[in-house]
């Protein structure tokens, strides 16, 4: 039996990698992938606690998160493609429409 805090450390490490990826990478695809990483970190936490507490709802919730992540990836990629067609760039620094 792997102790719960190992899962939590793994989850925290993955989450941090994801956050750093989102904040520092300039390629939209990589940012999307980093977001996936963060979701999976959350999944690990859910499943770790589900196993620890002997309650399946955490696992069910993780399945839902995976489903939502799949939908998010589909929509996200759609947006990226639409954006690429308009601006011909994947660099997030060149997409600054939110500027004042």
């Amino acid at each position: 039996m792997v102790p719960t805090h190992h899962y939590l450390l793994l989850g925290a490490a993955l989450f941090t990698i994801g956050v750093v990826g989102v904040l520092t990478r300039r390629n939209i695809m990589v940012i999307l992938m980093s977001i996936e990483l963060m979701m999976n970190a959350v999944n690990i936490n859910l499943i770790a606690f589900s196993g620890r507490l002997g309650n399946v709802s955490g696992q069910v919730f993780a399945i839902f998160v995976i489903t939502v992540a799949a939908a998010e990836a589909a929509v996200g990629l759609g947006i990226v493609i639409a954006m690429f067609k308009n601006k011909e760039t994947m660099n997030i620094n060149e997409i600054d429409l939110m500027k004042w």
Binding site: V19, V22, L23, T24, G54, N55, V56, Q59, I92, N93, I95, D96, L97, M98, K99, W100
Partner: protein
């Protein structure tokens, strides 16, 4: 070395080959790629052979060895439909018993030969390493499928081989037809996999476990205590659901349509995946679940009828096809039909026996056709072949042996296995003379189309075009040696399963522990009461039918004759229907494919007309009502706002600098905010 405890390694060698070739193959020399791929399978074969040998040394009732690697899934409590408490627990475990030992030897042994052959056949292709990486991944999946000790591992392997099949059919992905064929195989298999998944879920819901041995014990105990009786609806349901899966993977009516198109892949792939191993997974699965099928005679009847109809249907299409690989593809579908016929009449051992002999001669025939195609620079149309007998003698001789074997020549492998099936179709308690009659007719058709293939390719006048004619060459040794080995196998493989009137059926005896009857039936030994004379007589009849098929093919295609044209002109309607595969693809297009497209188009129109229309109407209405309020807004409200805005704008220029428009800056601020909040909360607790 104790190979029995090392069976979990068998699937890992090919996966190592897959990783090495897949990651680094692009930069490695072709010789290294081929050696690694074929070597990995050879090591698997050695380990498999060692394990099977050690298994055969055990006493008969102990010949079932399970190795648990680790607990794979342990996902909490569940309740079966019978009200029993259980847990959803699945081990990553491997099971070697007589049935999986037959499969593992066939898969690794023939798989190795085909890997060797591929090094010769694929030498000049682009993506040589990609091909071998996929092929090794396939071996891993297939070995997981047959060695796994529970339905979920079988499912993993099942999906894995489906994926590899898709990847390898679409190997020439720049060709649209190959991409389409790959997609078709994948989609049609999804339909079957749906059935398999339902079956597996039902098994867990009913028996509370997915482990083969546990399920079998539960059923046997249930039968002994009277809890389960034969023909109970749940057994019929599970058996039929599993059979839908088998129909998809093993190309039975109505899901066989993908297999002929799968010939778009390279020929070694057709030999390995679409003839010798993957398509027999359905047969293996039904044989593995024999305790469920024994409880559902109605489902067995469905299996037998679907099998025999598929055999007839596919053989009829095979009669007139002109593409050398398509003839073999329909032949494969037809032979798979034979296997399901055997399973359906309760002769599980006969079905698995035919699976094994078929793997030899069909792999041989496919590799031989590959050698012909190689010699003719990728010409597959038999109308442009002929008279190749002396130009590629090794290919000719080995293919002739394969043809004789599949046609059921006495003394060769196909004769023993096919005859066993015919006999069981007639004599077993689930059998019926009509099943035997159709199967015997199919034997004649098999003989005709196979000799037609042989004669059109190797005899008669050369119809090869002039340019290619000068470059015809026998294939390299890497290709001819596997052909010769398989030819020897096609001759000898039958002798381990002799009919009763000739000697002991070692093969059936070996499989007996797996196919032990669930219920000791009172009529069990009825089959034995049929006289040996009857069995010999029926074998003679089927050989006679095959000889008729041979003679028709010989006089039509080996001699100079216009009979082929004459007959096809006389029965034009039938000929066209056969040539166009009974228009089944067109029917499926009309029934499903176009309906799905119509649905998509309809939804698109709904979106365009109704949804967008509503939005547009609303917008127009809004614009009209907005004119009035616009005036008010522009002068009064905006005036106020602009005044306020101008004031704020002037006053706020230092803060404006922080709004850069870069999303990541905003995200960074958010993260800091979260950290501050978390810090604040933790501050309170610490």
């Amino acid at each position: 070395m104790n190979f029995l405890d090392l069976i979990w390694l068998i699937p890992l060698f090919p996966v190592a080959g897959f990783i090495i070739n897949g990651l680094f193959g692009k930069r490695m020399p072709k010789t290294a790629v081929g050696t690694i791929a074929a070597g990995a399978v050879l090591i698997s074969f050695i380990f498999a052979a060692g394990a099977v040998y050690q298994l055969s040394q055990l006493p008969e009732h102990e010949r079932s060895h399970q190795v648990t690697v680790y607990e794979w899934i342990n996902a909490g409590p569940a309740v079966t439909t019978g009200g029993q408490e259980t847990r959803f627990v699945v081990d990553w475990a491997f099971l070697l018993d007589p049935l999986s030992s037959v499969m593992v030897l066939v898969v690794t042994g023939i798989g190795f030969l085909i890997h060797v052959y591929s090094t010769g056949y694929m030498w000049e292709e682009d993506g040589f390493y990609r091909f071998f990486a996929y092929l090794n991944l396939f071996m891993f999946s297939m070995l997981t499928l047959i060695l796994g000790s529970n339905y979920l591992m079988m499912f993993i392997g099942w999906e894995g081989v489906g994926l590899c099949s898709y990847l390898l059919i679409g190997y020439y992905f720049h060709k649209k037809s190959a991409g389409d064929a790959a997609k078709k195989a994948f989609v049609v298999n999804r339909v079957g996999d749906w059935g398999l998944a339902i079956g597996i879920l039902l098994i867990f819901a009913t028996f509370g476990s997915l482990d083969y041995q546990t399920v079998e014990e539960v059923i046997r105990a249930g039968v002994a205590s009277g809890q389960y009786v034969i023909s109970q609806p749940i057994f019929i349901g599970i058996a039929l659901a599993l059979f839908i899966g088998a129909c998809g993977k093993s190309a039975q009516i109505p899901l066989y349509v993908w297999l002929p198109d799968a010939m778009e892949g390279p020929t070694p792939v057709s030999a390995l995946i679409h003839a010798a191993t993957m398509v027999t997974a359905g047969v293996y699965m039904v044989a593995r679940s024999n305790w469920i099928y024994q409880m559902a005679p109605e489902a067995l009847a469905v299996v037998a009828i679907v099998g025999v109809l598929t055999a007839l249907f596919a053989a009829s299409i095979g009669l007139v096809q002109n593409d050398i690989k398509r003839v073999l593809a329909y032949s494969t579908v037809s032979q798979l039909g034979y296997m399901f016929l055997a399973l359906g009449v309760g002769a599980f051992a006969a079905g698995v026996f035919h699976l094994m002999t078929h793997a030899f001669f069909k792999a041989l025939l496919f590799l031989g056709s590959g050698s012909v195609i190689h010699a003719l620079h990728h010409e597959q149309d038999m109308r442009k072949m002929g008279a190749l007998k002396n130009k590629i003698p090794i290919t000719f001789l080995t293919m002739a042996i394969g043809t004789l074997a599949i046609a059921g020549t006495p003394g060769l492998a196909g004769f023993f296995s096919k005859d066993e099936i015919l006999w069981q179709a007639f004599s077993s308690e689930h059998g019926h003379p009509v099943l035997w009659l159709i199967a015997a007719i199919v034997a004649g058709m098999t003989s005709f189309y196979m000799f037609r293939l042989l004669f059109m390719t190797f005899y008669g006048e050369s119809r090869v075009d002039h340019h290619t004619e000068q470059h015809i060459h026998e294939s390299p040794r890497a290709m001819t040696v596997p052909l010769m080995v398989l030819a020897v196998g096609s001759v000898l493989a039958g002798y381990i399963g002799l009919p009763k009137w000739l000697g002991p059926n070692l093969f059936e005896h070996w499989l007996e522990p797996v196919f032990e009857p669930v219920q000791v039936a009172a009529v069990a030994e009825e089959a034995a009461h049929h006289s040996a004379a009857l069995e010999i007589g029926m074998a003679a009849v089927s050989v006679g039918i095959a000889v008729i098929g041979f003679l028709i093919a010989y006089t039509t295609y080996a001699k100079k004759s216009d009979r082929a044209e004459r007959v096809s002109a006389q029965f034009k309607g039938l000929y066209q229907a056969l040539l166009n595969k009974w228009y089944v693809d067109e029917l499926y297009d009309a029934l499903w494919v176009h309906r799905a497209k119509d649905l998509g188009r309809g939804l698109w129109r709904f979106d365009g007309k109704i949804v967008d229309g509503l939005v547009n109407e609303t917008a127009v209405g809004t614009i009209r009502t907005a004119v009035g309020s616009g005036w008010w807004d522009r002068w009064i409200v905006d005036g106020l706002v602009r005044f306020a805005g101008g004031f704020v704008k002037t006053a706020s220029w230092p803060i404006r600098l922080s709004a850069t428009g870069y999303t990541q800056n905003y995200a960074l601020v958010m993260v800091f905010g979260v950290l501050v909040l978390v810090g604040y909360v933790l501050w309170g607790t610490l």
